[in-house]
Symmetry: C2
Amino acid sequence: MVVNTPSGAAENARTHNEPLAQSTALGGRFSFSLLKEDPATLGRRGRIETTRGAIETPVFMPVGTQATVKTLHPEEVRATGAQIILANTYHLMLRPGVDLIREAGGLHTFMNWKRPILTDSGGFQVFSLAANAKVTEEGVTFASHIDGSRWKMTPEIVIDLQLGYGSDIMMQLDHVLGLPAERAAIADATERSARWLERAIAAYKTRDGVNSRSVLFGIQQGGMEKDLRIESARRVASLDVAGCAVGGLSVGEPKHVMAEMLEASTPELPRDKPRYLMGVGSPEDLWHGVARGIDMFDCVLPTRTARNGGLFTPDGRISIAKTRWRDVHAPIDETCDCVACRDFTAAYIHHLFRAGEIFGMRLASIHNLRFLARQMEEIRAALDAGTFAQAFRAFDDRYRPVASLTVPSDPTQRAGASLP
Amino acid sequence: MVVNTPSGAAENARTHNEPLAQSTALGGRFSFSLLKEDPATLGRRGRIETTRGAIETPVFMPVGTQATVKTLHPEEVRATGAQIILANTYHLMLRPGVDLIREAGGLHTFMNWKRPILTDSGGFQVFSLAANAKVTEEGVTFASHIDGSRWKMTPEIVIDLQLGYGSDIMMQLDHVLGLPAERAAIADATERSARWLERAIAAYKTRDGVNSRSVLFGIQQGGMEKDLRIESARRVASLDVAGCAVGGLSVGEPKHVMAEMLEASTPELPRDKPRYLMGVGSPEDLWHGVARGIDMFDCVLPTRTARNGGLFTPDGRISIAKTRWRDVHAPIDETCDCVACRDFTAAYIHHLFRAGEIFGMRLASIHNLRFLARQMEEIRAALDAGTFAQAFRAFDDRYRPVASLTVPSDPTQRAGASLP
């Protein structure tokens, strides 16, 4: 289903430059074009084209777990600069159910989001949120976290669900292990994930996926074992998928470990396909991820943190409910163009949080999504200009994460020669 | 401070007809024009002009207790058709405090609502929400419902607070009794409220209120005692206020009792000043209130009900979380032009409520506010056209309130001769 054209055969509508590499799927209705590679890091500038519009990469995808980016109207999400959002296969399967979504005309119509949607496979939720997950080679059975009812997911069911939603980008079912785990168990789950990917690809073909609007991404696993990561990346790279995801990271490991895993494995992924680091979305992790060759990110962090009063600023994350913001009659961030900063003061948003007002959560969510979108705009501009390493250093010098326990190795010090 | 010009001397910018009656305050910067009286009921069509824009009456005012109409951006509130909103003196005094609001440039700037704001006096909240309220002739002391701290309100303090907020319409401090109560206690509280009004007027003059942008309304009390209501109305009518409110109704009494109280007392109020029925806002009560001579209403009902999934439709109130809405892939109300009905289906909003998503509360709040605003538009158009009684009957024939225990007497059967 995926045609690789590493030499960049297809004409790109938005630039006169030929892409460095390109892959297509859906008979050309889906494509990824690698537009530029950073000389100093693994950073890449690219563009995904879908039947629902283009996505400039690197990109951050806001999360709309239950067919809503929490507290926000889709038009507000779009206005923050979002190009694509993520929704959760597991949650939507349980409620409202795939039949209802299909009946509604698909997920885009149901939730009134007209641009691309990526759905995860549910693998992560089944192993983290549901109860009594039991894995066999066929798939996984588990109890709903809502009402305890028993459900089953197989690689094939998960394809059916996502085709039913009408996702633009579907994820394979993978076997996600809680860490720490024995190396043997990690190897076993990683190999099972690879076999499940082969079944997902077969199911995608059987279900005539190429005539849908949905493409399939595979997922690399391997825990914190470098060699398993590399092996898994090679396996996913060898298969007929439209993109390659990195799963099972950002699950509590030190930041330098995540950095090592990425540095070891992203060079094994195809240059001409998009790479998606699942569940990563702090401002600092986005820079680090891009520097290690990642094109796509998603995370609940910006919106969840927002609902707890945590707001991103160029200097770091602040807690708006703290007394120091009580009488700041100025925007949270003078340089920000979001609704929260354009229409309201820090003092007002502080008041909303102290008074327990939902509107505060909305403003904070808008601000954080806009912050990340602006950051990605800055990252893309720096990659375009060939100044990513400097931009990264400038960010890193100024931004103070609330909870940075360890400092990852500096990816801007990597030689350009190590690029794939 | 108020100049009565019952013959309608002032030129009205929006109509070529002379008003039937008119009063002005703030040296002409505030005015009420009575434009039309309904031939069959006590219904009135009017217009209030303030320094922050005009208000067509009858009008419903959404409530923004803590300087936010819960869950909504001020632009969304405005888009529902709101002309003026209400905020609560008591809540804002406790948090964030009048000094902070004054520092922010006033309540309008603080919350970014550029149109008129009416603030209540806190009387109702002190006696319903705060603890250990102790009344003396001077005022009332009580404990904050937030942290138990002791506070005092006097007629003068309440004027100072509202001038500090920069309210367009301020309410006097009144003594609100919990019912049932002895007639003697009701009479006592009613007389005290009248004395407090005299002190409020004096304080307003001392504080140079006429050079502010704020006018003062008096409040009629009297419990469910018709003669006390009439006496209280006459007392308020005799004083130098810009408008007359009816307090202490819609506190649990049967609907026909509220109707009787209004029918007895509104004819005692000046024809040339706006009349405000406090805390009333169900669709049916708005029609009944207008038919009994009321120009202004406020209530948390539409937004509070919305947050619980209760939605107004032309046929009555529905509960969107009920299973019958699960697969209704059509707007809640095909005739409605609100964001909820324009952009989403009943099935989607049902899903949001079942999934506990805040965005559902937002959509429901927008829908209910728009429903009431459209209803008021319909009421005003019917009053303009002289067809209010028919419109009321058409509404009453179709709309089914959820909890209508008693049917008020039919105000459309009243003779026009009984008008003041």
